[in-house]
Symmetry: C3
Subunit: 351 residues, 3 copies
Amino acid sequence: MEYSLGELAARLGVRLVGAAECRVSGVGSLDQAAPGQLAFLASAHYRKHLAATRASVVVLAEDMLAECPVNALVADNPHLAYARAARLLNPSPEVRGGVHPRAVVDPAAAVDPTSWIGPGAVVEAGARIAAGAFVGPNCVVGADAVVGEDSRLEANVTLCHGVELGRRVRLHPGAVVGSDGFGLANDGGVWERVPQLGSVRIGDDAEVGANTTVDRGALQDTVIGRGVKLDNLIQIGHNVEIGDHSALAACVGIAGSTRVGRHCTLGGGVGLAGHLEFADNVHFSGMSLVTRSFQEPGYYSGNLPATDNQSWRKTIARLRRLDDLARRLSVLENRLSAYEKARPLDGADFE
Amino acid sequence: MEYSLGELAARLGVRLVGAAECRVSGVGSLDQAAPGQLAFLASAHYRKHLAATRASVVVLAEDMLAECPVNALVADNPHLAYARAARLLNPSPEVRGGVHPRAVVDPAAAVDPTSWIGPGAVVEAGARIAAGAFVGPNCVVGADAVVGEDSRLEANVTLCHGVELGRRVRLHPGAVVGSDGFGLANDGGVWERVPQLGSVRIGDDAEVGANTTVDRGALQDTVIGRGVKLDNLIQIGHNVEIGDHSALAACVGIAGSTRVGRHCTLGGGVGLAGHLEFADNVHFSGMSLVTRSFQEPGYYSGNLPATDNQSWRKTIARLRRLDDLARRLSVLENRLSAYEKARPLDGADFE
Amino acid sequence: MEYSLGELAARLGVRLVGAAECRVSGVGSLDQAAPGQLAFLASAHYRKHLAATRASVVVLAEDMLAECPVNALVADNPHLAYARAARLLNPSPEVRGGVHPRAVVDPAAAVDPTSWIGPGAVVEAGARIAAGAFVGPNCVVGADAVVGEDSRLEANVTLCHGVELGRRVRLHPGAVVGSDGFGLANDGGVWERVPQLGSVRIGDDAEVGANTTVDRGALQDTVIGRGVKLDNLIQIGHNVEIGDHSALAACVGIAGSTRVGRHCTLGGGVGLAGHLEFADNVHFSGMSLVTRSFQEPGYYSGNLPATDNQSWRKTIARLRRLDDLARRLSVLENRLSAYEKARPLDGADFE
């Protein structure tokens, strides 16, 4: 798609400094964009590339404008304005309605004629596929599952029976939503499955990353809120609830029945124990393990960044000998106290 | 399914306190169940909901009976009794025998007529699908693989060549069993694959979670014992052996040739290094890294729970300066010793 | 396949000590191999099995030769020589050219007649499948993707649009290559997707493990170098670059734009934060979190191995009280200094 800078500025609601009639037809990074492309500057880290950019226009913040050698689109949030510009210049292909002859759609499924069911996709009885939805190649939509308007199941996705997706939800390849939760009862050492009778509900505009798994609830539903973004290879246990507009980086694991608030962020590899509750605006740094609830908004952490092996071994050895250190300190305190008592510094024994 | 409480008590082998003729047709949680539903109380945490429950009957332990306002099924293990009641009230649909016309079954595969091969499923030459087994949509059963009686491959499962499943095994969506182990030999900096010639054997009643991967052995087989429960997104390396009735929570990773005992539990995100050996009844808490064998039953841990960022930064800073702390302590010990030596407290220098 | 030891020695370029005409037709482990099989000894750990081996020949290093009771193939790198012997004795089946009638190949895809497209596989428009390539059952090859010569997509693999694989690349079951990176812009608390317009390029001889995910780049491509080995359940973020011949164990996660050098190794569960840069020959031990760049080759670590719960609780408690320990030490230093000042050991107050 091609736009003039004037059109772009109007569409994005940002200020253009430069030639309104100049046209761009794509995007590029600040240091690699060619003429005819739009670039952006959202981090001081890349400022060094601004002076030499060959982009036709740069989306940037007011305080960078003076340094910009080319046309500029001045935005309060350059990253956001760039995201929207990039979408305008690279529109997603329209979903064409229809069912591929190699799809398998149960006669008792309700498939909107404006939705697309791709080759190898399987749609079971009672499932409903709403207008504009896209069910990609080799996806499976279980019995009575609901795919909301304009939602997308990219490829090889499994949506289990009864799961409900809102509108504009995206499930990336290999995602599994609604498989049985890990509910086990123990009979003298032998585990028995507890039937998982809840389902999963996913709100509008949420995304589920590649090969991420979201378990169905034991009794009530597992709930992924509106606008929630789940990255790849995440595990969401049964009856978990994720508040609206929270974002979870890859490799996160959340055990059963834990409730994450709204607008939270979890760094990659974070693990949340089960049955915890978190306030809105709680943020965990990567690879932290969380074993208790936090009711206050804020930043929480529990990880140990790596260092060279030699220093690390020393740190671990010291850590293992902390008891020894504490004991020696106590001994010293007692010795000094005894000394101070016998020979007080008030000079009494010199009288 | 509907049962009278008398029938349920008899089937579950538990004591009914209340109306034997009262009928229930489903389950619900203690605080949300409606009349006609069965609830359970297995944890003191939910005791607060007992007095106001609207369930027709509650499965609970003897010591909660006095507080129960409705019919009660008194069980030694209420969670287990509940699991069985829930299964009775919500029986799994029968597997209907047959091969979907859109399945691809090699003529040299042996498929029992009482098993089901779903749409898009591929069953390769030499594979054997036993009576009552279920091969779900878009699953792949590799050459010479064996699916035991009443086992289930839910959807999009990959069973690689030669893998053997026992009876009543369940593979959840996206699970991969029998892919090549990570066997590499190094030729002057370049990695070469070592052929992985073993297979995987999975015992009766085991389960493999969604998108979990179990590698085939290098020479001997990888072995998952009877009744083992693997949650989602777990990695089992080549030649690992998991003893009967162990349960592994999500996101666990086990490196090659490690042997886990029977009746062990691994918390979410636990990592076991390779070539280790563990006794029966060994338990690791979540996100622990295990780098040595433990031959004694017991509880083991190695994780650091998260706290607020400020406290955490202090802790890390102190940890990094432990050497300094230890050094200062030594200096102090020496100083005090020198002092004590020069001015002994036995009063010698006062004579 | 069957070989005489003389043929094997010649093919492998190693020295035979024993009967050149002796024939072997398979491999086995040192302690379980039967006559007619080849075994290897590459680690002192297994030396104990050498004396009693029933293998017809053992691949080993010169310094083990004296203890070998059977024929020996003496190699500088026994593990490597074994890998090659095992491949000779167990050759991979030839790829037969053709398109399975139940595959779905877009007319606008270019499929070499010597490649194989399996049942249920979907190959979209513009995709190119080179000579000798293997696209397994239920794999999806997106529009304009390129599968290089002799590359293999095992089963249920998703290759997204435009992704380019070199020659002899292997994607194990469930792998997803080229799904959207986790690029988000925030609009007053609501996340918006940033279009991911780059792709993924994977070099010759690289491997991607089962259910591993590799994200496409935001603007430039994500790059997996030649000979890189990715184990199972790994997450590679957008615009990551992995240098040639690096090997990553299972459950690793790498955040966006991080560059790993050549010949690096990452232990299982390692997490690399985003926008970092690493030298060649950098090695991280398992489950380390890495939050800064390391420009020097070497070994780095940041994990805490598990121990028994009781010791661990003490360690954590001490760790949490390090501030207290440090404070007490300071107090003690001050007290002793005050004492030394008031009563100096130079004996001044005794004059």
